[in-house]
């Protein structure tokens, strides 16, 4: 399965935040979206999921034009998301969050065991009482175990301790090898460079650079655009 955005434009009200962005991901690869704050990375994630309507361009998923599909229909077609903010239902328990993501008992246990020091034994706790990093772990675990083909993630390591960043990286690497496609918006460049098979650099809502991880000058090209 392939997620393909072509010439995507989206924004907030009359203010456009994406200007003809084209990006794609296949199953079994991780595409890192990098760029400074406010360049449209979160807007891109929302537009790919259907939370923000595309004012122009298209989004295709597995051969279907999903541009006008609501998020829930995209989810049923194999797409999942982890958002930077409001990653979990904070008023509901950890267990309820697992159930709401359609996970059976075995998958629910898997999610808790993915981050054993942070989540095991806390399933009856309100998700809102978890730290920001723990909420991200819960959301990432749910998305990774929900059986999706393509996953879009917005800053999943924000608030995570270094040891848990490594743990999440290990789970993402395993999921990629198992055939999951990931679009990863990530400020943690070390993690992004260790996982990504391709890079896309956004600047002012446009793609200004892209390339494969095995290109010799790829890190220099990325760094050029990230220097303030």
């Amino acid at each position: 399965m392939r997620l393909q955005a072509t010439g995507l434009e989206a924004g907030y009200g009359a203010v456009p935040a994406l200007h003809g962005v084209s990006v794609s991901v296949e199953q079994g690869e991780i595409v890192a979206i990098v760029g400074r704050n406010g360049v449209g990375k979160t807007t891109l994630i929302k537009a790919l999921m259907g939370l923000l309507p595309a004012t122009s361009g298209s989004v295709r998923l597995g051969g279907n034009d999903v541009t006008r599909w609501p998020p829930s229909r995209r989810v049923r077609a194999g797409l999942r998301a982890v958002y930077q903010e409001r990653a979990v239902f904070s008023e509901l328990t950890v267990r309820d969050n697992l159930r709401l993501n359609g996970l059976d008992a075995s998958a629910q246990a898997d999610v808790l065991e993915m981050f054993p020091d942070s989540l095991i034994g806390r399933d009856q706790q309100r998700a809102g009482t978890l730290s920001g990093g723990e909420q991200k772990m819960l959301a990432s675990g749910c998305a990774l175990r929900a059986g999706a083909s393509i996953l879009v993630m917005d800053e999943p390591t924000e608030g995570l301790q270094p040891s848990n960043v490594d743990l999440l990286g290990k789970h993402l690497s395993q999921a990629r090898d198992d055939g999951l496609g990931v679009i990863l918006v990530e400020q943690h460049l070390a993690l992004a460079t260790s996982l990504a098979t391709r890079f896309v650099v956004l600047e002012k809502g446009e793609v200004v650079a892209s390339g494969h991880a095995d290109e010799p000058d790829i890190h220099e090209r990325i760094a050029t655009h990230l220097v303030i």
């Binding site: 998020p71 509901l92 709401l100 359609g102």
Partner: protein, 304 residues
């Protein structure tokens, strides 16, 4: 006070037994009946407001449709008990269709939902007039007679009404608080976008929840039909009380609607006992004003 209560004492005979009909006991039973009716009517209003933020001014007309369903079932020669599930199904479908055709298009404009449901209430009443005319229709009481309880004789059908209404309220509450469907509703109330992103079809849940809200009103309509005349304006009798309950109980927790029904019924029953029905209405409205003025700051969002 004792003398006043003694004045209200009546005697009646039933199957050879003698019962003292105590006015206070009768009024307490009336209060319980009022609580049950208020709770079942207001519950649907609370669900729709809590989940969707829609102030449904046509909710009383859903009660009216339920009452006419009971009348039509009677005209078809069927049992009144059949009318209750039929009213639930008819209103579930009608409510779902109204959400799909009208409410869904104006969620983002709360002021429009008020206008739209006000218009809908007029349309439903006019339709009832076209089909049934303004004439008062009656539904025969399926359980005539009285039953002794707490030393008084009380109409048997009112006991049945209380039992059915309480059962419907409890089942509805459990559905919204203990089931997977209830969990999805709570998720939507908490964060609609995140719920969509978890694969929950929020539009379907909205239709279903609106339908369930209408269905509870329909059951209420079928239940109260034998107690009085069935006519196009019958819904207007129940709407103010239901809104009062939602204001007093709030919708931040669905059980609050039941609590609100209890408070409003107790206040009204007490006022009727010690004064009259007019004062009961005044006291109820004052209660709503006090709650609005000094009550909880958060009055939206449906949580089990």
């Amino acid at each position: 006070m004792v003398g006043r209560r003694a004045d209200h004492r009546l005697r009646s005979k039933r199957k050879g037994s003698v019962f003292v009909v105590d006015a206070l006991t009768s009024e307490i039973l009336n209060g319980v009946g009022s609580f049950a009716t208020l709770a079942i009517v207001a519950l649907g209003l609370g669900i729709v407001f809590g989940l969707m933020g829609v102030i449904n001014l046509a909710h009383g007309e859903f009660v009216m449709v339920g009452a006419y369903v009971a009348f039509m079932v009677q005209e078809a020669g069927r049992s009144h008990w059949l009318a209750i599930p039929i009213a639930a199904i008819v209103l579930l479908l009608l409510g779902g269709m109204i959400e799909l055709a009208l409410i869904r298009r104006i969620y983002q404009r709360p002021e429009l939902t008020i206008l739209a449901t006000f218009g809908l209430s007029i349309v439903l009443r006019q339709l009832a007039e076209l089909i049934f005319t303004k004439d008062f229709r009656s539904v025969v009481n399926p359980v005539p007679g009285a039953t002794p309880a707490l030393g008084v004789l009380y109409p048997t059908y009112r006991f049945v009404l209380i039992a059915v209404a309480v059962t419907v309220v409890v089942v509805t509450l459990l559905t919204f608080t203990r089931s997977q469907f209830g969990l999805t509703v709570q998720a939507i109330v908490a964060d609609r976008e995140l719920a969509e992103s978890a694969g929950i079809r929020t539009s379907v849940v909205n239709s279903l929840a609106f339908g369930i809200g209408a269905a509870t009103a329909g059951v209420a309509g079928a239940l109260v039909a034998p107690l009085g005349a069935v006519e196009p304006q019958i819904g207007l009798t129940y709407l103010p009380g239901a809104f009062l309950v939602v204001i007093v109980g709030g919708v931040s927790r669905l059980w609050g609607v039941v609590l609100g029904a209890g408070i409003v019924a107790a206040v009204q029953t007490g006022a009727i006992h010690f004064a009259d029905a007019v004062l009961a209405q005044i006291v109820s409205l004052l209660l709503a004003v006090v709650v609005l003025q000094f009550g909880r700051s958060s009055r939206s969002g449906l949580v089990a």
